[in-house]
């Protein structure tokens, strides 16, 4: 008989017996193995029996034998592949647990060798890396040999595959799994440059991970599901996030900012950073960096460059951390981790709550010289050479926010401040700035929408409005078109840039541009059904007593809050023009229309306007009856025409022809619901005074009728009226500003 025939005979006999008498089957195989120790099939059969019976210890011994004696057999590799797959997976079924137990029975040396060889057999970089990771986790001594090369392989794979986002499977494995093994292994001696490189890779990953968008394209697995989640009402936060190539479980990165701090602490210790006590909070780190910065000028050579790298690395992390916190409060829908159904974005704007006061009218008349002097009194003098007249506003500005609408306001403002301070620190020395810029360009932070939002707000806060404008234009270029559609639920995310542009133009005194932007915003708004008056209720109003016009305000980015802001901004623009020494009836008229909003806040200004009209003796504003429905104002104007009122000549009607030929349907309707109760004053006034200066009886009658109609419109939704005003008079409004 040939050897092959013998072996086949022996294995066959064993197989026949295995169910009926497994002991006999094994006895046959033991005998067979002593006859043909080099025959693989015999040993594989022995192994199969033990494995099928899930006898961990004996199966392990046999696997060991096969691994040692038949390292090239494909069947052995199939087994090893199955086992290592079980090791990598988080599957909890009985067989997977058996396989893991089987692996555990092998001597460490064999485990190590098995994993290494299994790794060699892997052609897929990701699997290979996972396999090596198993090895490194189990055998810390192998980290010295394989750790860095595995890390480099992953980073290389990342660049070969040309992956756009740092949040990819290779980087994830590198940062979350390999890097901690490398830097925690005390037998490893890594050059500082490599540690910095790794630190930066980790930071880029964690930051990108935490700031990833709600549905980063293509990374949401199962496109069908993704689509259904986008439907209105589905909470965005519930989206599962999967890094391509990884399982859902291993796609989860817990406490990214904390992990980043951990790595920072270890890298710090390894690089022997100055005064590094492994502090645990970002704010503490910033404090330490500030102190360290003071010593920078006294350092030189290697110490200096080391110290500089420390400051830049640490401060950069603080900057991004606090900027992230700020933006996640201000624009929560931007991040997957933060988005929740009710989250409303907030927008940083000039505070216009003092628009109804008369104080700043002086400012406008006394021009820049006067203003600069005034500013100089109130606050520290800074950077007089800075662009435009926003100079000096950068320090100590107040940000007003409705505490009831935003519970976390204090933390948010803290984050904003910390981020600004970090930024300032990074730009306090040229060398620091260069190094920081190098990080930014390698991370392509230019493409980070959220960072741009923070930077814009920071620049606005600093009062560098010219810069802010260009930043806002950049911001607008970020917005992908589809995002406009996604934003439902009354939020005006897509208008954010426009509103801020308006606010900045206003602050720069570019009223026409400001108005243009505001009107663009308003045209996209839907007027609220609610009557006006409540929108400006604010807890923090009392704080506006001082530092008028230089405070900022965080407004919730909703129609309800934005519409009033737009109206205030327009009012602020026109107010200055209306009350100059030169006569500008159109501006004054606009002011009067706008003053209706939030009535009677604007009463004082209205009276001032009335005074001005009285002084002029005449007033021409043909849109008056289209947009003024405030009963107090109507009364006042009716009175102005009377002798007691000064017999002011009012030309408030467009022209008669227009009134007669084209009565607006609304007017026609309400005219029938004539409300006599509200008109006695008007009527008496008409009765007692004669019309002067070429106004015919017919005209006088038209005015009276118009007044009567107007009174009946008092119940109209003022916001609708003002909205229409903005839309219909857009051109005239813009043109009436310089």
């Amino acid at each position: 008989m040939s050897a092959q025939g013998d072996c086949e005979f022996l294995v066959k006999r064993a197989r026949e017996l295995v169910t009926e008498d497994p002991w006999a089957a094994k006895a046959w195989l033991i005998t067979a193995r002593t006859l043909y120790p080099a025959d693989f099939n015999i040993q594989y059969e022995m192994y199969t029996i033990e494995r099928n019976a899930e006898r961990t210890a004996s199966a392990g011994r046999l696997l060991y034998d096969m691994f040692v004696n038949f390292p090239e057999q494909p069947a052995v590799w199939r087994e090893i592949t199955v086992i290592t797959a079980a090791l990598r997976s988080d599957c909890q079924d009985k067989h997977a647990q058996f396989l893991r137990g089987l692996f555990e029975t092998l001597p460490g040396r064999v485990q190590c060798e098995m994993l290494l060889k299994a790794t060699e057999q892997c052609f897929n970089t990701l699997e290979k890396a996972e396999m090596l990771l198993l090895l490194l986790r189990r055998f810390p001594e192998s980290v010295v040999q394989h750790g860095v090369s595995l890390g480099e392989t992953l980073l290389e794979a990342e660049s070969i595959e040309d992956l756009e986002s740092p949040v990819n499977c290779f980087r994830k494995l590198f940062v979350c799994d390999v890097l901690p093994l490398i830097i925690n292994n005390h037998d490893m001696r890594l050059p500082a440059s490599l540690l910095y490189k790794y630190m930066h890779k980790a930071a880029e990953f964690y930051i990108s991970y935490v700031t990833r968008g709600p549905s980063a394209d293509g990374q949401l697995q199962g496109s069908q599901e993704g689509v259904s989640l986008k439907s209105p009402g589905a909470p965005r936060g519930s989206q599962r996030y999967i890094i391509e190539g990884l399982t859902e479980k291993s796609s989860v990165v817990l406490e990214p900012w904390e992990r980043l701090l951990d790595i920072l602490a270890i890298v710090g210790a390894r690089c022997e950073w100055q005064g590094d006590k492994g502090s645990r909070s970002y704010v503490e780190i910033l404090q330490r960096m500030k102190e360290l910065c003071r010593y920078l000028p006294s350092l030189e050579g290697e110490t200096l460059s080391c110290c500089r790298s420390q400051v830049v690395t640490c401060t950069t992390l603080v900057l991004f951390h606090s900027a992230y916190l700020y933006v996640s409060a201000v624009q929560p829908t931007l991040f997957q981790a933060h988005s929740s159904p009710g989250a409303v974005p907030w927008i940083l704007l000039e505070d216009l709550s003092s628009v109804f006061s008369e104080a700043d009218l002086e400012r406008s008349s006394s021009k820049h010289v006067h203003k600069k002097r005034k500013l100089g009194e109130g606050r520290e003098k800074t950077m007089s050479s800075d662009d435009e007249d926003g100079s000096g506003k950068g320090r100590g500005r107040h940000i007003l926010v409705s505490k009831t609408d935003m519970p976390g306001w204090a933390d948010m403002l803290d984050s904003f401040r910390t981020a600004r301070e970090s930024w300032d620190l990074l730009h306090s020395h040229e060398a620091l700035e260069t190094e920081f810029n190098r990080i930014c360009s390698s991370w392509k932070t230019d493409s980070w929408l959220w960072l741009r939002i923070f930077l814009t707000d920071m620049i606005i806060y600093q009062g560098q409005y010219r810069k802010a404008l260009s930043s806002l234009h950049q911001l607008a270029s970020f917005q992908p078109p589809q995002q406009v559609q996604v934003s439902s639920q009354g939020s005006l995310e897509h208008h954010r840039a426009l509103i801020q542009l308006a606010s900045c133009h206003y602050a720069l005194g570019e009223y026409r541009l400001a108005c243009e932007k505001v009107l663009e915003v308003v045209s996209g708004l839907v007027p609220q059904a609610q009557g006006p008056g409540r929108a400006t209720e604010d807890v923090t109003r009392t704080r506006t007593k001082f530092r008028k016009g230089t405070d900022l305000r965080l407004l919730s980015c909703t129609s309800k809050a934005i519409m009033p802001f737009c109206l205030q901004l327009m009012l602020a623009c026109f107010k200055l023009r209306a009350f100059t020494e030169n006569r500008d009836d159109l501006a004054l008229g606009h002011v009067i229309v706008l003053l209706q909003h939030d009535w009677p806040q604007g009463e004082a200004l209205f009276l001032k306007a009335v005074d001005k009209i009285c002084q002029q003796g005449s007033f021409q504003y043909e849109n008056f009856f289209n947009y003024v429905t405030n009963i107090d104002m109507l009364e006042e104007f009716a009175y102005l025409r009377t002798t007691e009122g000064g017999k002011v000549q009012l030309e408030l009607l467009p022209n008669q022809g227009m009134l007669i030929k084209n009565p607006s349907p609304a007017l026609g309707l309400v005219s029938q619901e004539f409300n006599t109760l509200l008109l006695p004053g008007v009527q008496t006034a008409d009765r007692h005074h004669t019309v002067t200066r070429g106004i015919t009886k017919g005209v006088k009658e038209d005015f009276r009728l118009a007044m009567e109609r107007q009174v009946s419109r008092c119940g109209e939704n003022l916001l609708t009226v003002l909205h229409r005003f903005c839309i219909n008079e857009k051109i005239i409004l813009v043109q009436s500003l310089p």
């Binding site: 006999r13 033991i30 120790p37």
Partner: protein
């Protein structure tokens, strides 16, 4: 009394007669106790001497006269102990061995009491030993079991078999489950169990129906061995190499005896049950037995593989034939006769099973280095046996140059193929 005995120690020659005189005056039980105490004192003194202890005649006589109650003078009245007294004496012994913490002292006292002297006292000696060990099993007195293990190693096989018989009758014959007591002792005195298995397999050699082990005994042995694969090798591992054993003593391991059980059982059981028609329960019992033998057979092979590892580790491979070729030849002869005997009974299945097991045992034993003989010897040995494929394969050995398995020079196989292990020069050939 201790003081007096201590005084006696100083001059043992004089003392012995004095002691005897004083013992004669006592009743049987207290005299026996007194002897025990005396042995303790005497040997603990001797153990301090460089020469080491020696059991001299005077001591043996003292033991025989006062413990086994063999009168020294034919005409002296024979003392007797009542059953109660005997039990009391056993208890005293039990606690003596239990409490004596010095191994060497315990062992020499045990030997002084129980090593057979080839005289008329041996009957009593064996009977008391049987009772003592049985008691020790029952109440788990580990030191006595350890002493008994040594005794089993050193005594002649016939005596060992007698002790084994007592224990088997006490524990495996009765309706009582052998379970608890015996199952437990394997964990506390494995050496004793190993020796006991050797003795038991020597006793029950399946030569007659009466010498087929009972299912209780079989089950116990299988359980012991299956749970503790190294058990059968324990005595061997505890013996210095090369093993020097008193002539006529038991095998160093129970392996051959167990192989005999496995190899002969299919035919022996068949012969046993043949005349009577088989009732249903018996059939099931048989199947249970068959499966136990199958399990035992596997265990034996596994034990042989363990042995191989040990031999290789200690560079003894091929130099120490643990299974003597003579014994194997005898077994083959027994099997051949049995097969012949059963030929008319149409026992082809049983014959096949027996021969398969024999072939497997021989092959694995040879591969393990336990059986030192060549394939040629084997062919001679087995020539009388009926034809069997596996046996044929084993006799001719593996075909050279296996064609389908690749040879890896870098990784030599763990087991070197069983070709011809180094043959000792004194090897006897069995082809004549």
């Amino acid at each position: 009394m201790v003081k007096r005995l201590l005084a006696g120690l100083v001059k043992p020659k004089y003392a012995m007669t004095d002691i005897r005189q004083s013992l004669l005056r006592r009743d049987a039980l207290s005299a026996a106790k007194e002897v025990l105490y005396h042995l303790n004192i005497y040997f603990s003194g001797q153990l301090q001497n460089a020469a080491g202890p020696a059991v001299d005649n005077a001591i043996v006589e003292l033991v025989e006269e006062f413990i086994f109650l063999i009168p020294k003078d034919r005409n002296a009245p024979q003392k007797r102990m009542s059953s109660l007294q005997e039990l009391q004496l056993l208890e005293v012994m039990c606690s003596y061995f239990q409490e004596q913490s010095k191994d060497s002292l315990r062992q020499v006292v045990f030997s002084a009491l129980f090593v057979p002297q080839g005289n008329e006292a041996d009957g009593c000696r064996m009977s008391m030993l049987g009772k003592l060990v049985s008691m020790a099993v029952a109440v788990c007195r580990v030191p006595i079991l350890d002493c008994a293990a040594l005794w089993l190693q050193r005594s002649h096989a016939t005596h060992c078999v007698r002790l084994a018989k007592v224990l088997v009758e006490d524990y495996c014959g009765s309706a009582l489950s052998p379970g608890q007591a015996l199952r437990h002792i394997v964990t506390v005195s494995p050496l004793f169990c190993c020796q006991l298995i050797t003795a038991v397999t020597a006793l029950y050699d399946l030569s007659t129906d009466e010498l087929i082990p009972s299912s209780e005994l079989l089950e116990m042995v299988v359980t012991w061995i299956y749970d503790d694969p190294g058990l059968t090798l324990l005595s061997f591992l505890n013996t210095p190499v090369p093993p020097s054993r008193p002539p006529g003593s038991l095998d160093l391991t129970p392996l051959l005896g167990l192989i005999r059980w496995c190899v002969k059982s299919p035919l022996a059981c068949r012969r046993h049950r043949n005349p009577s028609p088989m009732p249903r329960e018996t059939a099931e019992g048989d199947r249970g037995m068959e499966s136990l033998y199958s399990k035992l057979h596997l265990s034996v092979l596994q034990n042989l593989m363990l042995l191989q590892a040990h031999l290789k580790e200690n560079d003894l491979y091929g130099r120490l034939g643990l299974l003597s070729v003579e014994h194997v030849a005898k077994l083959v002869g027994e099997l051949a006769r049995l097969a012949d005997e059963l030929k008319p009974l149409n026992a082809a299945r049983e014959t096949e099973l027996s021969l398969n097991r024999l072939a497997q045992s021989l092959q694995v034993a040879m591969a393990a280095g336990a059986l030192l003989c060549s394939r040629e010897d084997l062919r001679c040995l087995c020539s009388r046996l009926p034809k069997n494929n596996l046996l044929q394969l084993v006799m001719s050995g593996p075909a050279l140059q296996p064609t389908h398995s690749v040879f890896y020079p870098a990784n030599p196989p763990r087991l070197s193929p069983v070709t011809h292990p180094a043959v000792p020069s004194t090897r006897t050939t069995f082809c004549s």
